[in-house]
């Protein structure tokens, strides 16, 4: 039985295909259209999913949309009614969109699906799941747990912003919900907006900025903005926020509380901005920890699954893990709305169709390392490279890993394009840019020469799973880069008083450990453990690098530039390679050296193609 899940029309549209409960393929539309956070119907992602399964559109038994538009419309109307006449500016923006398009979503979906097969009775095959149920399903069903508590937290779905569910076997039941407008995701987004970053994409920058600051506004936030109950449930004081009625996240009362207007995007970051980031991060962690402890007490379960945009806050996830309320936690790598497509398909299979669920292994989950996207055979890669006029050499696997390890050890930045593309926002060694984590310059080189992004943001390490304990204070797998832990004491370089007093990026530039490129100012790191079972090629590269240098850690950042979706095809990779300061590109077994390539010319400035995120 083939079930296709779709998320679309809000942000991060995606398609995911399952066959008898097993995930066959999943991809975000932005990777194909090259439009970051593309919200359009995922035509290309759908085509890819079908081709991966080798089936035609008419062979899909069900198509499931990840949320229920009418419930969302109900929330909108009741919200406008509650605040009328204050919300008119928002109303006049929202209602035309709904009356023209979103209210007729079923028709729109059928019309889009008809483009793939005009003769298929799509409306009979179409189902709609609930937004948070889709998130919960995406977290529970692929997890390696027979039973688990499931916590989902995001901006907002239909009504729900936070939900607690319990999964047992093939059943998944939502027990509790917190409803709009009280939302942890929107609270974090409000501060993202206030700190001058883009809502819905800059949240991870706020998280990256937090370790530089002191949480001196934490009490102010708790006193005025959010009332946190002992079980973690919370209420926001809506008089400080504008998102129910206006077109911004915060209002003047909010500005007055913090004593200044929002920071203008792209202006210099001050210590105050860092303190704001640290404060909201602390409050977020406080809420998440209380929620998790409450859930543990209420359900008595040993396992916890997390999903929803807030579950991408890996610093909070790390604290949940260390808190020890749950023995094991598992986080859906595509925790944002793209993952809703997968959850929608899984919930239709297990809940709607009531199919049995078998947990294959307690070690491996059902996400296959999140490598669920397109794959290119070596001959296909070479054909594409030739048509681009690229110059490359082909190595055997053993030579390739040795060569790449050598280049990395020399301090070269490497584009690493191998196997299937990742599903979710993180590059996990399928479409990655790699560097030497031991190099004190690597952080700024990658930020400024390759990624063209703010230099305050640290990079994440990939480490051989078997060497994890020797480098980081983490004892469990973290294959999806969703847990933050500290570099172990013996690898740290203590900062003297003068260095401690440094501020912001200057502090980041002080080597603080044996792997400075991936160590944040508070010695933390966002860890990816690399497993031979899910990514043998990346594992082999790390092994070769370790044999050469004694260090099993590499810098791993996504293969893109700022504002660009992660590369999908060899052509995307070559384009990105030629535009940036990358020294080498490895696609499958093909190695490309920058100095051997023909001159790269573009008519326009490519930087203008990508809006800053």
């Amino acid at each position: 039985m083939y079930i296709l899940g779709i998320s679309a029309f809000y942000h991060d549209s995606a398609a995911a295909l399952i066959c008898d409960g097993v995930i066959v393929a999943a991809a975000q539309e932005e990777r194909f259209t090259r439009k970051k956070h593309d919200a359009g119907f995922p035509h290309q992602a759908l085509d890819y999913c079908l081709s991966q399964a080798g089936i035609g559109p008419s062979q899909l038994d069900q198509v499931v949309f990840y949320e229920k538009p009418i419930l969302k419309f109900e929330r909108l109307l009741e919200n406008y009614l509650a605040f009328a006449p204050r919300g008119f500016s928002s109303f006049k923006m929202a209602i035309p969109v709904w009356l023209r398009e979103k209210l007729f979503l079923k028709d729109l979906l059928c019309k889009c699906l008809k483009k793939h097969d005009p003769g298929c009775p799509w409306s009979e095959r179409l189902l709609f799941g609930e937004h948070h149920l889709s998130h919960a399903a995406s977290a529970f069903y692929p997890s390696p747990f027979e039973e688990a508590a499931v916590l989902t937290m995001d901006g907002v779905g239909e009504w729900t912003t936070t939900s607690l569910a319990v999964g047992r076997g093939n059943r998944l039941e939502i027990l509790k919900e917190i409803h709009f407008p009280h939302s942890l995701g929107l609270l974090y987004s409000a501060f993202t907006y206030y700190a001058g970053f883009k809502v819905n994409s800059g949240e991870y920058k706020l998280m990256g900025l937090a370790p530089y600051g002191e949480p001196r506004f934490g009490d102010l936030i708790r006193k005025h903005l959010v009332d946190i109950k002992p079980d973690g449930s919370f209420r926001l004081d809506m008089s400080y926020f504008d998102y129910c009625t206006g077109l911004t996240m915060t209002n003047r009362k909010f500005d007055n509380l913090f004593g200044a207007p929002p920071r203008k995007p792209e202006t210099a970051l001050t210590r105050r901005d860092m303190d704001i980031a640290a404060s909201i991060q602390q409050v977020t962690e406080d809420i998440v920890l209380k929620l998790v402890r409450g859930i543990s007490a209420e359900t008595g379960m040993n396992n916890l699954c997390l999903a929803g945009g807030v579950a991408l806050n890996c610093v909070a996830n790390g604290k949940v893990l260390r808190d020890g309320c749950f023995e094991k936690i598992w986080i859906q790598p595509a925790s944002g709305d793209a993952g809703g497509a997968l959850g929608a398909a899984l919930s239709a299979y297990y809940l709607h169709k009531d199919k049995p669920r078998a947990v294959v292994s307690t070690e491996l989950d059902g996400m296959q390392g999140a490598y669920l996207g397109p794959f290119f055979e070596q001959n296909e890669i070479e054909r594409r490279l030739q048509s681009l006029g690229a110059r490359y050499s082909v190595s055997s696997d053993a030579e390739l890993f040795e060569t790449c390890a050598g280049l990395l050890a020399e301090g070269k930045a490497l584009g690493w394009f191998q196997g299937r593309m990742e599903f979710g926002p993180r590059a996990l060694g399928g479409r990655s840019i790699l560097g030497d984590a031991r190099s004190p310059q690597m952080q700024s080189v990658l930020n400024l020469k390759v990624k063209f992004r703010e230099s305050f943001r640290p990079f994440a390490p990939s480490i051989l799973r078997e060497d994890l304990h020797d480098w980081f204070g983490l004892e469990c797998d973290s294959p999806y880069m969703l847990l933050v832990a500290d570099v172990v004491e013996k690898r740290r370089i203590p900062m003297d008083g003068q260095q401690q007093a440094l501020f912001g990026i200057e502090k980041l530039n002080i080597p603080r450990s044996d792997i400075p490129a991936v160590t944040h100012v508070d010695y933390s790191a966002r860890i990816q453990t690399v497993h031979a079972s899910t990514n043998p090629r990346y594992h082999a590269l790390l092994t070769a690098f370790k044999a050469r240098t004694g260090c099993p850690v590499l810098v791993n950042t996504s293969f893109n530039v700022r504002g660009e979706p992660i590369v999908c095809t060899p052509e995307d990779a070559y384009r990105c390679f030629m535009r940036t300061g990358l020294d080498f590109l490895v696609i499958g077994n093909a190695v490309l050296r920058k100095e051997e390539q023909p001159l790269w010319r573009e008519a326009d400035d490519w930087r203008e193609q990508f809006a800053l995120d």
Binding site: I70, L77, F91, P96, K102, D107, V156, V199, Y243, C244
Partner: protein
């Protein structure tokens, strides 16, 4: 027609008949906005709608 049927089912399921006159008023107001406005531009903030 499908949509109207679904809306009716929804009102019945959620026992929200009191919403009906408000919905009609808001939809009328919305329709005026649609005709008064050239394009429906999706707003830039979070996906609240």
């Amino acid at each position: 027609m499908d949509l109207l049927k679904e809306f009716w089912l929804f009102l019945r399921e959620r026992k929200k008949f009191w919403l009906l006159p408000i919905i009609i008023t808001m939809l009328l107001l919305g329709l005026i906005l649609v005709f008064a406005q050239g394009t429906a531009v999706a707003p830039f903030i979070y996906t609240l709608f």
